[in-house]
C-alpha cells in the first residue's frame, strides 16, 4: 500500500456550508501526502477559493447542481480538480491583478482566482458551459526552482514587504 498514490473524489451540494468539509477532505489527503501544515493551508485556501466560486457564480440563474472535487496524489505532486456543471466563464478575461491598483480602489472581491495562482504551482481552466467547468491545480511536494512563476512570486513578495515597511513607518 503506497500512501503517496491514489485518487480521492468528493461530491457535495453547491452550498457554502460544505466548504469546511471540503477543506477537511483536501487537508487530510495533503497532510498524508507529506505536505507541511503551511502548504496544507495553502492548498486548502486555493481549493476553498475554487469551490466558493462554484457556490457564488457557477449556477447563477440555474438549478444548483454540485461541487466536484477530485484529488490525485502522486509521488511528487498533489493535483486538485474542482468542477461544476454551471454556466462557465472566460478565465482569460481576468488579467493578473495589480494589488496597488486594487487597494487604491478599495473594492472588495475579485481575489479568488488571483489567490489560486499565487498559492499553487500550476493552474489550468477547462470550460464547457453546462457540462463541466474545471480548475485543475497542482502543488509539487518538492518544488523545483526555475519557473517564471517563482520569479513572479518573488517580485510580488518584495512588493508586499515594501508595503509592510510603509505601513510600519506610518
Amino acid at each position: 500500500m503506497d500512501q503517496k498514490r491514489g485518487r480521492y473524489h468528493l461530491n457535495t451540494p453547491s452550498s457554502s456550508e460544505n466548504l469546511g468539509q471540503i477543506r477537511d477532505f483536501v487537508g487530510e489527503i495533503a497532510r498524508k501526502a507529506g505536505f507541511t501544515e503551511e502548504y496544507v493551508n495553502k492548498i486548502q485556501i486555493a481549493v476553498d477559493e475554487a469551490c466558493t466560486n462554484v457556490v457564488q457564480h457557477a449556477y447563477k440563474g440555474m438549478i444548483p447542481k454540485d461541487i466536484d472535487v477530485l484529488v490525485e496524489v502522486n509521488s511528487d505532486k498533489l493535483t486538485v480538480t474542482v468542477s461544476d456543471q454551471g454556466r462557465g466563464f472566460d478565465p482569460h478575461s481576468f488579467p493578473p491583478l495589480d494589488m496597488n491598483a486594487y487597494f487604491a480602489n478599495l473594492k472588495r472581491g475579485g481575489l479568488g482566482i488571483y489567490l489560486i495562482h499565487m498559492l499553487m504551482d500550476e493552474v489550468e481552466f477547462m470550460i464547457n458551459p453546462g457540462r463541466k467547468n474545471s480548475v485543475r491545480m497542482v502543488k509539487f511536494l518538492h518544488p523545483v526552482e526555475s519557473s517564471e512563476r517563482k520569479q513572479n512570486q518573488k517580485i510580488l513578495l518584495e512588493k508586499s514587504r515594501e508595503r509592510k515597511r510603509h505601513a510600519v513607518s506610518e
Binding site: 466548504l19 469546511g20 477543506r23 477559493e49 466558493t52 478599495l106 472581491g109 498559492l119 508595503r163 506610518e170
Partner: protein, 113 residues
C-alpha cells in the same frame, strides 16, 4: 455550528472584535454583521483580534475591504492584532499590510487610536 464566532468588547472609544474559528464565504456574513452593528452605533474605531482565528479565505479578507472606505471616511480605522503566522501569511501574500496596520498585540493596536 461552532465553526466561527465573534465577540465584542468596548474599551472607551475603541471596539475590539475577537474572531475565532474559520472565516470563509459561509461565515463571512456573520462577521460582516458584527461590523455593521458597530457602524450603526457610530463606532468607527475598531480593532480585530485574530488570536483564535485558525483560517481565512478571500471571502474573509473581503469583509475588511468592504468597510474600510466608510470607516476611514468617518475618521475611524480597522486595526488588526494577534495574528497567527498561518493567517498573517495570507494577508502578507496579498499585500494587505500596506492597507491595514497589523500589531502583535491588541493593547498596542488600541493605543494607536
Amino acid at each position: 455550528m461552532a465553526e466561527f464566532g465573534v465577540e465584542r468588547k468596548d474599551v472607551n472609544g475603541v471596539s475590539v472584535l475577537y474572531i475565532k474559528g474559520y472565516l470563509d464565504a459561509h461565515t463571512a456574513p456573520e462577521f460582516e454583521q458584527a461590523i455593521r452593528q458597530l457602524l450603526n452605533e457610530g463606532r468607527y474605531k475598531i480593532v480585530v483580534n485574530f488570536k483564535d482565528l485558525s483560517y481565512i479565505s478571500s471571502a474573509g479578507l473581503g469583509v475588511f475591504m468592504g468597510f474600510i472606505e466608510e470607516i476611514r471616511n468617518n475618521k475611524g480605522d480597522i486595526k488588526l492584532s494577534n495574528m497567527t503566522d498561518k493567517v498573517f501569511r495570507i494577508f502578507d501574500l496579498l499585500g494587505f499590510p500596506s492597507l491595514y496596520e497589523i500589531f502583535q498585540d491588541e493593547q498596542e493596536a488600541i493605543e494607536k487610536f
